[in-house]
């Protein structure tokens, strides 16, 4: 029998979690922004066909504008709450406006494998992400 679905983490728990950069990503900064290069790895059965099928060997994400500022705040130490606070002050936002914006963006980075969030492992509270 499957276990009960774990309770969604509260906002307090979410804010204590720490976003960590993927150490296997190469970061290249220039005047306009930051390029994040992720080396792609394929399963053993696909590896021989990689060259034949012209499968990409790497994926590059480009961060510009606000995203650069957020990336620089991700120092593998600061909890989300501190980043939210700093972002709110920087952009004249309320705490929860800043939280909602950053959580959405961090979710994108997690889905792309650029960062991982350490501290909770079962998603974020969708209901309270409204603001």
């Amino acid at each position: 029998m499957p276990g009960a679905k774990p309770a969604r983490p509260t906002i307090a728990l979410q804010m204590q979690a720490v976003p960590m950069r993927n150490q296997r990503i190469t970061v290249l900064e220039d005047a306009e922004g930051i390029s994040l290069t992720q080396v792609l790895s394929y399963g053993w059965w696909l590896r021989p066909l990689q060259r034949l099928l012209h499968l990409p060997t790497q994926r590059v994400y480009r961060l510009e504008g606000i995203a650069v500022g957020v990336w620089k705040m991700l120092d593998d130490k600061a909890p989300i709450g501190a980043i939210v606070e700093a972002f709110a002050i920087q952009h004249s936002l309320s705490y929860h406006e800043s939280r909602a914006m950053l959580m959405t963006y961090l979710r994108v980075l997690v889905n792309r494998g650029v960062i991982a969030i350490v501290g909770f492992d079962h998603g974020v509270d969708e209901e309270t992400m409204a603001i």
């Binding site: 509260t10 004249s92 936002l93 309320s94 406006e97 914006m101 309270t128 409204a130 603001i131």
Partner: protein
Amino acid sequence: MGDAVSRSEAEVLPAYMRRLRALTWNGFGFTLPVRWEVTGYGLKPALGRFQFHDRAQAMGELSWRTLAGAPDLPRMMGDVLRRYLAAEQPEAVAGFQAATCQRQGEWLLAWHGPGAPLLAGLWKENQHILLQWFIPGFSPERLQQVQALLDTYRHNERDPKEWRIFGLGLSLPSSFAVESLEAQSAYCTLRLENPASHQVVARRIGMVTQTLGGSNLGECYRRILNRSQARVLAVQEETFHGHPAWRLDFERKGVHRMDALSGRWWQGQGWMWLDASEGRLYSCEQCGPPRSPRLDLAHAWR
């Protein structure tokens, strides 16, 4: 003392945070404590709620529901506390006889002791609505804060009715009801409509530099209106409540009865302005059938 601290904190709040303290909805209004923000909502007229957080901590929930007749508030609140204790502090249930109740203006406050929630209730006979506050974790300080909050309560059922949330504020005839409220990060939209489909829309937008992206207010507003299927007819620089503003006249396809069938366009006008002290963009527009009387939006904006 808590109230005095809260007042001095309120004075040093940045301008963009001050407007967030006003919450006025269908029948009630409050000035929220400093740093409280609405973080969740359900807006059905018969059963709805607002949820509040102060940073990461849940501060409470305000709910409303329509009832056929007046409830027995002390008994109802006692039952809520008893059920809470049964679930969270089973050892305390046996000792629970009745909640401690106290009047605070029109409100009835009820609590049991530390850790259990603090409840407040008000039966609005004229609207047949029960308003309830659920504040987690009773403490004397929390009680003081809630008393100060309840002291800010004001009625809001007469004509014109006020609607204030997320820094948006409108005062409209009571025939207008909420059509939708969209709260995205630094972008809030409140849409109200009357039975004749006359619609009023208010927006509050943060991160001004990024939103404008080098364009002026008029171009920015045109983009927003175009996205909502409106056709801009005229653009004009004006002022709105003392702020530099752009007025846009536009038209949108009718959505009501014969106008929808015949594809008739309805006229509308709106203003977008920059409140430099807050660093926010605001817009307010109306659009409706030709025979629907226009509102003075400068007067309606709060």
